[in-house]
Structures are given as structure tokens and as C-alpha cells.
């Protein structure tokens, strides 16, 4: 084996190991050492990782995968009569077309989007009998198929009461976080693309973070996933999520996240452009459905100014004049 293909195989082995659900902590320094050893190692690894994750590979595999299904699909009768031989390919072709139609079209037809505007909330019953309560300014896409149940929280927050089904897992994706359940009640709050809070009110769920180990949360458990790290939250005794009563319990939460919650209720857009203010850590219990009261509380407790404009409310560091 020449040097180049040896590097490619070593890089490929690292990619496979890095994509396992749990990356062995002991392997980390070895990986860094391998990467540091030669520029060509780094180049080949970067190329292979991009290739492994590429849309092109998914498409090529998709075609290879459907070819594999088609090759298995044609049923050949055990003792066919002479005449039926001609019809077999036709049946096989029809079966392939139908299979393809089921695989391709059914997911498109069975996707439903539910959304709410700011200040509104909505309760929906899904095709499988599960119930979902949407908070304000929330968008949820749901796909119920005979073999799986998927939901994706595009923005906002939702409370799920999932009907128990042993065979069909219910999965909720929120940015880089995913929650897997069989039957249970839980809340998912998408606070940013790489920031999601999950709270469990009944049963248990499994929380996964983009390619990392899964964490199991049980009744009363909560967790915050921030940039791929899972942080446990204090246990709750509540039977329903805070947002249903319009409250939000913040402990060391960036101001940007709190304002994101207030926006779900506010009629006027709230602007928070200063980056240091976005990250300002906030603690307390806020009545987020009452925009004015939250903003007054924040203004009083932290060093910020709130300016009420005709079309929007702006939050700035204190003493910064309007431009």
C-alpha cells in the first residue's frame, strides 16, 4: 500500500471513530497527535470529513440504496408457468415504482406545519393522537409515518404529550439537539440554533446532541443543551411548563434568551443589537407574557436603557444615545 492510500485509510478510521455516538476521551489526544504529525494528514482528514458529510455522498448513496432495494424487490415465483415469465419484469417494475412512490411521496404528503404568531398559543392533536401545545411565535413541522414519528421545532417552544407506541419512536429535533421518546410529556424550548432546553413532566426521554452521547432525562429532570454541551437543570415539581402560565424561571441565562422569550408574546418587535448585552447573564423569575413588566424589571436590575419607539422597542447599554 503506498503512502497516500495509507494516510487515507488512517484518516477514514478517525472519521469513523469521531462519528460514533460516544467519542472515547482517551482517543482524543491520539487524534490530535495524528493530525499534528503531518500537513498531509490534516489535508486528507479535512477532505474526507467534508466528503463524508456532503450532500453529494448522500445523493449517491441514496441512488445506490434504492438500487439495492430494487434488486431485492422483484419476486420470482418458485415454479412459474411459461406464460407468466413475460409479466414478471412488468410486475417487478410496477412494484419498484410503487415502492419508490411510497418512499418519496408519502413523507412529503404527511408533513404538516403548525405555527403561531407572537402572543398567541395553540393546541393541536396529531394524527397519532399525541397532543402538542405551541407557545407564541412558534413553528413546528410534524411528520407522522407508518414507521416513524418526527417533529422539528423551527423556532419557539412547545409542550408534547406523546401517545405511547412501542414500535414507533417519536423524535423531536431542535437545532442541533434531538429528543427521542416512546410515550411521555415534555417541553422543548428552542432558544437558538445550538441552544435548546428540555424539561420532562412524565415518563423519560433521550436527548442527543449532534453526534454525541445520549443523555436520559426522567420525570422532573431538565437539561439545557448549549453548543453541544448538556447542562443539568434544577429538578422541577411542576406539572406543566412555565410558559403556559406566562412565567419564565431564569438562572444565569443570557439576556438574549430572555428577550427571545418575551418576543414570543410581544406585539411590537424588541431590538437587542448590542452583543455584550445579548450575553449579559440574567437570573430571576419573569412574567414573560407581560412585556412592559419584564422590561421594567430588567431596566431596574441591570445597567440598560429601554426605549419605546413607534414600531419597535430597543434595549441598549445605559448612557448610549440614540444615533
Amino acid at each position: 500500500m503506498n503512502r497516500e492510500s495509507q494516510i487515507a485509510e488512517e484518516a477514514a478510521a478517525w472519521i469513523d471513530r469521531l462519528n460514533q455516538p460516544a467519542f472515547d476521551a482517551a482517543a482524543g489526544p491520539n487524534f490530535d497527535a495524528w493530525m499534528a504529525a503531518a500537513p498531509r494528514h490534516r489535508e486528507v482528514f479535512a477532505d474526507l470529513q467534508a466528503l463524508w458529510q456532503s450532500e453529494a455522498l448522500l445523493q449517491a448513496l441514496g441512488q445506490a440504496g434504492s438500487a439495492r432495494v430494487a434488486a431485492v424487490a422483484p419476486p420470482v415465483p418458485a415454479a412459474p408457468a411459461r406464460r407468466t415469465w413475460r409479466t414478471v419484469p412488468r410486475f417487478a417494475a410496477a412494484a419498484c415504482v410503487m415502492l419508490l412512490a411510497i418512499v418519496l411521496i408519502l413523507p412529503i404528503l404527511s408533513t404538516t406545519t403548525y405555527s403561531t404568531g407572537a402572543g398567541k398559543s395553540r393546541s393541536v392533536v396529531l394524527a397519532d393522537g399525541s397532543r402538542v401545545d405551541l407557545s407564541g411565535d412558534t413553528e413546528l413541522r410534524v411528520q407522522i409515518l407508518p414507521w416513524k414519528r418526527n417533529a422539528e421545532l423551527m423556532r419557539g417552544e412547545a409542550y408534547f404529550d406523546v401517545r405511547h407506541e412501542r414500535a414507533r419512536i417519536f423524535r423531536v429535533a431542535s437545532g442541533t439537539t434531538s429528543v427521542r421518546v416512546l410515550g411521555t410529556a415534555f417541553n422543548v424550548d428552542r432558544q437558538g440554533p445550538t441552544r435548546t432546553a428540555v424539561m420532562v413532566y412524565r415518563g423519560a426521554v433521550e436527548v442527543g446532541v449532534a453526534g454525541k452521547a445520549d443523555v436520559v432525562l426522567r420525570k422532573g429532570d431538565g437539561a439545557r443543551v448549549v453548543d453541544g454541551h448538556v447542562v443539568a437543570q434544577p429538578r422541577v415539581a411542576a406539572v406543566a411548563p412555565d410558559w403556559k402560565s406566562g412565567w419564565f424561571e431564569a438562572s444565569d441565562i443570557p439576556l438574549g434568551v430572555l428577550i427571545g422569550k418575551v418576543r414570543r408574546y410581544s406585539a411590537r418587535p424588541i431590538l437587542l443589537q448590542d452583543r455584550s448585552l445579548q450575553a449579559l447573564p440574567i437570573s430571576g423569575r419573569f412574567h414573560v407574557s407581560d412585556t412592559d413588566r419584564v422590561l421594567q424589571a430588567v431596566q431596574a436590575a441591570y445597567h440598560v436603557d429601554v426605549a419605546y419607539g413607534p414600531n419597535a422597542i430597543a434595549i441598549r447599554p445605559r448612557g448610549v444615545a440614540e444615533d
Binding site: A13, F23, A25, F31, L61, A64, A210
Partner: protein, 178 residues
């Protein structure tokens, strides 16, 4: 604020040449995943600044592994934002399809990869489909196909190396790389 390379050198514990190598590796990766120059710059800068931050608050298990993961997540975010932008302006539901410029550049890649997949032993192709497309774990693949976990690993490794070999030009060895 994204960190500049200079700030990284003065602030982070690792030697400057290491950070330079990390930056070069991550940009090579991001460049092959998108052909929008502004996104490349954004993602690489943001990844580096988060890496520097993380390396100061804790000892990292692997700076490269974390770097690749952050960059991949940021790329997904960018892609989401782009498709939402398109959706709002055309008042149509956001599409899961790749951006038009990726479709054009990708078509040739898909053809090359398909050819390479077709040339593989069927079992190896099957293992790759299950692992990447269907997201099956190695253990599940080993069970379904009656292979040892080591054999599954070997198929993935060989398969990926085959695919890499099939890709043309700059994406592979500059000057042959023998």
C-alpha cells in the same frame, strides 16, 4: 466578536504554529462544504474564537475533534438561515434541498461518487448505505449483516478511502502525493 489570528496567538495556551495549522485545516474543510466565500470566512472565524474560548475554560479532549464539530454545526445553521431567507421572500415553504450553486457543483461529484460506489464490492456499498444514509450504528450493521464489528469498521474505512481516491484534482493529493 470573532477573534483574529493575532488575538488567538497571544491569548490561547497552544503555540502559534499549532493554531495556524488548525485554522488552515478548518478552512480547507469548510471550503469543500460550501462555495460561498462569506460563509467560509464567517464559519472559520467563529469556530476559532469558540475553540480559543473553550480551550481557556477547560482542558479539551481533542481540539481538532471539537473544531470540526463546531464548524459542522455552524454550517448547518448558515444553511438553515439561507433556506428560511429564500422561503420568506418567495412565500413558499423552506426547502430541504441544497442551494442552487451547490446543486450545479454537486452534480458532477454525485456522478463520480456513484461510479465509485458501483465499482465497490456490494457488501461494502451496503455497509456505507446503512452507516451514512440510514444512520445505523456499527453494532446494528454488524448484527444485521452477520459481520464482526471490526469487519464493519474495515468496510467503512476502505469504502471511504475508495471514495476519496475517486475524487479528482485538488480535493485529493496536490501533485500526486506519492
Amino acid at each position: 466578536m470573532p477573534a483574529t489570528l493575532h488575538q488567538i496567538e497571544t491569548r490561547a495556551g497552544a503555540p502559534a504554529e499549532d493554531w495556524r495549522a488548525i485554522a488552515a485545516t478548518l478552512s480547507r474543510y469548510v471550503r469543500s462544504r460550501t462555495n460561498r466565500a462569506d460563509v467560509v470566512e464567517d464559519v472559520v472565524q467563529e469556530t476559532l474564537s469558540r475553540l480559543v474560548h473553550q480551550s481557556r475554560v477547560q482542558t479539551l479532549v481533542s481540539v481538532y475533534a471539537l473544531g470540526f464539530r463546531i464548524a459542522a454545526n455552524l454550517l448547518v445553521d448558515h444553511h438553515r438561515r439561507d433556506s428560511r431567507y429564500v422561503a420568506e421572500h418567495e412565500e413558499e415553504p423552506a426547502s430541504q434541498a441544497p442551494l442552487p450553486d451547490r446543486v450545479l457543483a454537486g452534480r458532477q461529484e454525485v456522478a463520480i461518487l456513484q461510479e465509485a460506489l458501483a465499482a465497490m464490492p456490494p457488501l461494502r456499498r451496503d455497509v456505507l448505505v446503512r452507516r451514512r444514509l440510514q444512520g445505523q450504528s456499527c453494532a446494528a450493521i454488524a448484527r444485521d449483516l452477520g459481520l464482526s464489528p471490526k469487519a464493519v469498521e474495515k468496510h467503512i474505512t476502505r469504502g471511504l478511502a475508495d471514495l476519496h481516491k475517486a475524487m479528482p484534482g485538488d480535493a485529493r493529493a496536490p501533485g500526486g502525493g506519492r
